[in-house]
Symmetry: C2
């Protein structure tokens, strides 16, 4: 990892509470491909940790087994770049637990930045957040699976980040792609 820029960014991928397509609050299933893709993306941008957040014990165990396979099992030999990516990947029970863990690590609460496909009057722009990141940190970027983060998370966050806008009205990016674009906008030189 380069130490040219000292950035302390953490990512949380939330599986509860999120919405389903009809607006109900649900616990979404962990997608193993998300774990691999987002781990690689996080590693590319030197993210400090990628937390997979789900209250379901069996799902946390699934992620734990996946990480173990690629870290120490046959997978570590078969695909070393996947192993390296998973070095920053962790499993958490809730967003609250994630925030407490980071607060303990740094001795102060991280700045919580929720992401959303919609824009709010209070949304923060990419350039402003880029500057905030460089002025200190740590920052916890929070992403929702399913049809997005439940509104209590948006309310409790310190900021909601502007949505990724492409060209035109279509804004249904996979969360994997949104994370890649957002990290590139916030971190890449």
């Amino acid at each position: 990892m380069s130490d040219k820029i000292k950035i302390e960014i953490h990512i949380a991928l939330i599986h509860y509470p999120v919405y389903n397509k009809v607006g109900e609050v649900i616990t979404s299933s962990v997608t193993t491909l998300d774990i691999h893709d987002i781990s690689r993306i996080a590693r590319t941008y030197a993210v400090s940790s990628f937390c997979v957040v789900t209250p379901l014990k069996t799902q946390r165990q699934l992620v734990g087994r996946l990480i173990e396979h690629w870290m120490t099992g046959y997978g570590a030999e078969y695909n070393p770049t996947r192993k390296e990516a998973l070095l920053v990947t962790r499993v958490m029970n809730s967003l609250t637990e994630t925030v407490l863990d980071l607060t303990e690590k740094y001795g102060k609460r991280p700045t919580i930045v929720a992401t959303c496909a919609k824009k709010f009057p209070t949304s923060v722009g990419f350039q402003d957040l880029r500057e905030e990141i460089r002025s200190g940190g740590p920052i916890l970027l929070v992403f929702g699976t399913g049809w997005g983060l439940e509104k209590s998370i948006l309310k409790e966050a310190d900021y909601v980040l502007d949505p990724v806008e492409g060209v035109g009205e279509y804004n249904h990016l996979p969360v994997r792609a949104a994370i890649a674009i957002i990290l590139d906008r916030l971190i890449a030189r």
Copy 2:
């Protein structure tokens, strides 16, 4: 789609000829998730077409069936945003066929831009390509699956685009993530 910027960008996702992890030239398998993710990303950035390129007839049929399911089958009703994404998705036999098809459509050959995780002395930067795109087009961005595009494609392309660099030495982004970041850098305002 917005018509604020008239951009004619096409994407080709190449399954042959690409390298495997030991450097052999192979035909990689189509990943259905690539189709969905890249279609959504392409639609977000108003890409004119996303061509899935494979010489294997059974794989082309698989992609054709997948598109049909989501365009006209039960899927179209179940998930309309997926349907909308697939509007720009097509299947092609080879890169040559893709280039000929676009040449026929526009009455001139598209500018072919290959992508690669390595930098070459002749690589073109993102800012330069952004300007080229705005000055005309059409552009065909070529992405490799597996361990990347076989060198003949890099040689024959008009340009090879600079690699996506994050922070540090790790550069093993999934092709899905690379496409998202590259389109954002080239097209987003």
